[in-house]
């Protein structure tokens, strides 16, 4: 259960603010200290636990603060803007704001944002954004206009997503809302149009956000009294285009629809939001905490003296205006569970003892909860979501999707699928995806012309699938010889049976080069070592020596004579790739897949001799490439490792030795492998010999040290 504690007024004297309430409450660089900016001329630094002010600063008569004071966490200084354009920076020791650093800017500032871990940002009213340092370096720099003429910024928020700062701001123009997401690592500004789900036009009154793994969840409180949720992708597919965002209703009638002011919303954690406003048209205003997962009201607190429709939330404190006083309400939110939502959770421990067990959940602690609150302050524990037991409010999107699959056109399925993937992920997401694929495959079997390739690709790339979740997918792709899907599956699925892996290998080896030419294959595993193919001759040969193996060395047997006759040809063979780049990429996918020797061997025997020779040649080529550098690795992002290469060489030879030995083309390859193994054996035996001699030396050395069986030494004890 969420629990609102008894609040207390922060200020003994009423704030010198009008009905609008304070301009802002911001964290300072010390925990428990907050900067309160009233809408007039004053900034006050409060220590919340002591309920007393630590410092107060005012601008001159006639000036007016237009942007709430923030703290620069990197320097500990405070920043405000007064009269829209004048920036002031000061610190705790300064007394008079008139005498502190001042910079006059060329455009009007909407807000300054500052969070821990990055430099403050200045958002201008025209939508442009500047880092504080860059701005101070040249205060009069020209500020561009980003948003259109009549657009007005309504709400803005700055937060970190995976250690990258992201600014989100929402503008309004004639009742239409636009969401801008500015990412600073890539300097990409994405614009979205917010489609309001409800029929009649109504005004959005408050926003709040939280960050998940893939989406920023934007919650809005509309004038119809409902809370809506919108998911904004963190990594948009086409950042430049204007995209649309759909709102989905999360909670109904949390506040009275007629309330025109005094309404605000804050996300507390994954499952809880705080809403400020009157629940019924006639009632007094309330602060209430709702559980969004179970859609239940957790607790509420009446504010009889009215409030201003502003709500700030930091750590474990909610700040709001109550009457004329800024009030702090500490709260506790426990992890939501059905029992808790129904009010049936047992409270065995004393209320005074905070005895929540400290579990670290590696799965959810990473990305969640970073958004609307400062994660460093939030001490609450994020725990694995319980398997959802609540009933779905409407027909689940998945059933709709499954129905669509059975009848609609390929194009339509694709659109629906994209929509479905953009929604919030439920715990059973992976099984739904599995069902969708099985549904698609079923239809494919029924209608031979139906092959929703794009959909399948998209589904495989959700990273949640495994072979056992969608049996039949790979078999189907094998039937269609769709190497692209096969490659994706090999890369993504952890549990492919060896027979299927081997079937893939067969397809990859047998497919014609011209067919391969037209397919789009992920080449990242080969891109870095395939290009400089022709320059590697000399390097290749020195590397053999480095690894103790030289093809030129011919003191072993008569077979080597043949090799010596055509040294040029040997060099060519060893340094040029025997397969095309695309085929190489496919084969690498096979090399990466997991297997068990015992199960793989019988299937490998079925590979035709020519193909296994080709594969061996390719593996040998990879080995030579590996030995070009001292670390014995291939360049590139995800190349096969040396041990994978060697294991596959051994496996192939084990399975096909009698066949390969009969093929004339493979003779040279086998000879070089044989010589390689022979040299390795001799190296190992030499190394063992060296080890033994070193051990003897060590023994001698020890004896020398220990010969001194008796000595008289001087020791001073201190």
């Amino acid at each position: 259960m969420a629990d609102l504690e008894e609040g207390f007024a922060l200020t003994a004297v009423p704030l010198g603010s009008g009905p609008d309430g304070p301009l802002g409450v911001e964290q300072s660089d010390k925990t428990d200290q907050f900067l309160v900016t009233d809408s007039g001329r004053t900034v006050i630094l409060y220590k919340v636990s002591d309920q007393k002010p630590l410092g107060s600063w005012s601008v001159k008569q006639g000036q007016i603060i237009t942007c709430p004071a923030v703290c620069n966490f990197q320097t500990g200084e405070y920043i405000i803007v007064h009269d829209n354009k004048v920036l002031r920076i000061w610190n705790n020791e300064d007394v008079n704001l008139d005498k502190v650093f001042k910079a006059t800017l060329s455009a009007e500032v909407y807000r300054i944002h500052s969070i821990q871990g990055t430099e403050p940002l200045v958002l201008f009213k025209e939508g442009a954004v500047r880092g504080l340092e860059a701005l101070l370096a040249e205060p009069q720099q020209k500020i561009e206009t980003v948003i259109s003429d009549e657009e007005v910024i309504k709400w803005t928020k700055f937060f970190m997503v995976f250690r990258h700062p992201v600014l989100i701001f929402i503008t309004e123009k004639h009742g239409n809302y636009f969401v801008y997401v500015q990412k600073f690592n890539s300097r990409i500004l994405s614009k979205y149009t917010l489609l309001l789900g409800q029929e009649e036009k109504c005004v959005i009154q408050s926003f709040s956000t939280s960050v998940g793994r893939k989406f920023i969840s934007l919650m809005s409180l509309s004038s119809d009294g409902c809370v809506y949720e919108t998911l904004i992708p963190i990594h948009p597919s086409e950042p430049e285009k204007n995209q649309r965002l759909v709102q989905s209703q999360l909670l109904k009638s949390v506040v009275s629809g007629s309330a025109r002011n005094g309404v605000a919303l804050a996300i507390l954690d994954q499952d809880h939001i705080a809403v400020l406003g009157a629940p019924l048209p006639a009632s007094k205003e309330c602060l209430s905490v709702w559980n969004t997962k179970f859609q239940t009201l957790q607790t509420s607190k009446e504010l009889p003296q009215g409030t201003s429709g502003q709500l700030w939330y930091y750590g474990e404190n909610l700040f709001m205006l109550h009457g004329k006083f800024l009030t702090v309400v500490p709260f506790k939110c426990e992890v939501s569970s059905l029992a808790g939502a129904l009010g049936k959770l047992k409270h065995s421990q004393d209320p005074g003892i905070h005895a929540t067990p400290h579990f670290v959940n590696w799965e959810t602690s990473q990305g969640c909860g970073l958004g609307s609150q400062n994660s460093e302050q939030s001490k609450r524990i994020l725990r694995r979501r319980k398997v959802e037991v609540s009933v779905q409010p409407e027909v689940p999107a998945s059933t709709q999707l499954l129905a669509t699959i059975q009848k609609d056109s390929e194009k339509h399925i694709e659109v629906e699928l994209r929509k479905f993937l953009a929604t919030k992920r439920t715990p059973d997401f992976h099984t739904i995806i599995g069902d969708v694929i099985i549904g698609l495959l079923g239809r494919c079997k029924a209608e031979p012309s139906f092959y929703p390739r794009n959909c399948l690709m998209q589904l495989v790339q959700t990273h949640v699938l495994s072979y056992s979740l969608c049996p039949g997918l790979m078999e189907f792709a094998l039937e269609k010889t769709d190497v692209q899907i096969l490659q994706l599956c090999l890369q993504q699925f952890p549990d492919i049976p060896e027979s299927v892996t081997c079937a893939c290998l067969k397809v990859f080896l047998s497919i014609g080069d011209d067919t391969l030419q037209d397919t789009d294959i992920n080449m990242e595993s080969v891109s870095d070592y395939m290009d400089p193919v022709q320059d590697g001759e000399m390097e290749g040969q020195t590397a053999f020596l480095q690894n103790g193996f030289s093809p030129e060395e011919d003191n072993c047997d008569s077979c080597a004579q043949k090799l010596k006759e055509k040294p040029q040809a040997t060099a060519d063979e060893s340094t040029s790739c025997p397969v095309t780049t695309k085929r190489a990429a496919l084969l690498n996918a096979v090399l990466h897949s997991a297997y068990s020797e015992t199960f793989l061997l019988p299937h490998l025997k079925d590979i035709p001799a020519q193909h296994s020779t080709l594969f061996l040649q390719y593996l040998y080529f990879l080995y030579l490439k590996c030995s070009e550098n001292a670390t014995m690795t291939l360049p590139g992002t995800h190349p096969p490792t040396l041990s994978q290469i060697m294991d596959w060489i051994c496996l192939l030879l084990d399975a096909n030795f009698t066949v390969v030995v009969m093929i004339p083309e493979a003779k040279r390859l086998l000879l070089s492998l044989y010589k390689f193994v022979k040299s390795q054996i001799s190296i190992c035996s030499e190394l063992n010999k060296i080890e033994v001699s070193f051990r003897e030396l060590q023994k001698l050395n020890q004896e020398k040290n220990n010969r001194e069986l008796y000595s008289i030494e001087v020791l001073e004890l201190f």
């Binding site: 054996i681 080890e691 030494e713 004890l717 201190f718």
Partner: protein, 709 residues
Amino acid sequence: MGEFNVHRVRFFNYVPSGIRCVAYNNQSNRLAVSRTDGTVEIYNLSANYFQEKFFPGHESRATEALCWAKGQRLFSAGLNGEIIEYDLQALTIKYAVDAFGGPIWSMAASPSGSQLLVGCEDGSVKLFQITPDKIQFERNFDRQKSRILSLSWHPAGTHVAAGSIDYISVFDSKSGSAIGKMLVDRQYMGVSKRKCIIWGVAFLSDGTVISVDSAGKVQIWDSATGTLMKNHLVSNADVKVQIWDSATGTLMKNHLVSNADVQSIAVSPQEDSFVVGTAEGTVFHFQLVSVTSSSSEKQWVRTKPFQHHTHGVRAVAHSPTALISGGTDTHLVIRPLMEKVEVKNYDAALRKITFPHRRLVSCAKKKQLLLFQFAHHLELWRLGSTVATGKNGDTLPLSKNADHLLHLKTKGPENIICSCISPCGGWIACSTASRFFLYRLNYEHDNISLQRVSKMPVFLRSALQILFSEDSTKLFVASNQGSLRVIRLQEGGFTHPRAFQPQSGTVQSMCLLAVSPDGNWLAASGSSAGVHVYNVKQLKLHCTVPAYNFPVTALAIAPNTNNLVIAHSDQQVFEYSIPDKQYTEWSRTVQKQGFHHLWLQRDTPITHISFHPKRPMHILLHDTYMFCLIDKSLPLPNDKTLLYNPLPPTNESDVIRRRTAHAFKISKKYKPLLFVDLLDEKTLVAVERPLDDIVAQLPPPIKKKKFGT
């Protein structure tokens, strides 16, 4: 604190014998360890793993099996064909019973503890009933073809699994008939090896039998069907752990753990984990874990390998919180299972016990003689000397090297229990389990003549501890059944041994003795009871030091003050004033403030305490890894101060030095230490035994290839 000339002695050529068996007793939390020379040691795991008792070895008594039965009775059996019960109070062998089956290879007590089963060379399995004061032969099980190397009872006591060569038999324990046979594959990696020896079996309550064998396999069998369930190959040398189901005798699983023998196995009482030891020195931990997170099906999985041994692990035990292993390399290793240890304390640390927790060296200070005690002989050495001086860290040139004066071999197969040289150097006494030896030494220039004092009194047949008085006129002997005697020594003999009045009703044997330098007081301590102080003149008990929970590891009485200093196995040190019959002020202060946490974390007990001849405030004590000179006049260290400060503060002023100085002057320069004493005010003797020297005398370990495997 001062400068000392340290005689650094490394010629004590002591080699502990290899560990053959370990047996853990859950009730008393004690561990019995038997060594290849027949010595049996008892470690108290609750008292910081202190070796509180030992039974001396015997050449003809190679122990092959060791087990606890009927609560806390300890039995061993060996290649001489005898079953032996030990008297843990009197520290003697209670009786030996011949099983008449040739050498005994294995022994197991029934789960109820009332029956004892031995496996013999002739293939017989013999059942003995344990009566309150003896054991009685009851029945033979069906005779098998070859020797029975391992035995294990089903936890319900209904069946017995016996490992032989190439097969495992399952017996019905009621009728003694063989009801199943599980054949072990001799082959290893397709190559037929020599015979496959089942070194260990374990019977689980669900009918599963786990076997370890010389082919390096851990096999899990289903005894109901006799099928192999799983096979783990654990070692490259010789160990297979096989888990069988005994009802049918099928192998359920086969873990090939090694190419070397898997020589030992022990299962946890909860049957959720077991441990095997291999001839390569690796110990593998197997755990019963769920196959998948959702299903309840569980499987034995090899989870952790530990390599704490250089040589083969001959014996393993599984206590609720730790894996215990011992082997040819003579170390006893106690490896706590971190998931079972709740608090980070003494028990959470890895323990390696190499040296006995008692003194093997005694010293005649005036003559600068050292007496070393080996299993079957004594060595007497005279320390060398130097005329040079030097500064801290210097090695001084020797003007005279150390001399090996005497090599004294005892007759008979028994190991020496204790030995002592008198402070004047004129007497040497030692004892085995059945004979007491007293020698008179005469020094004429460089020649030594030795004369055994014959006609020892009848009662002086063995001693647990011997001590000479400071003036070498009296000999104190503690022997079994708690008896304590004093003998007055004279030229060429002794007169009228007299006994101290024993505590009424105690049979507790005294293991540690200390006599005051003025010869008036004798302190004696048993393995668990408190310390008793006797008045030597009146032969009467003077007082008893208040009992303390942990066993005493060392005792000494200070000159002049007659303060008794007592070290306990939990690293506490007390000082007790004998004349005042109370703890001294200093001891109270120490207890009030508490010892430094690093002092309490040391993991070897203090084995010797002595005093500075000139400075009464100084106490010298040592364990295996450090020696410490306590200056009682200085302030005690608290947890914030540096306990070990090995280097002098070179350019700091005397003020700082004085401010940071504390009572504990510790040196870790010499280790492992077997003995440290003050010869005179400026001279220390430190007997070191480097581990490398021990390893050099062990048989070479199985060589493992580093390259090309």
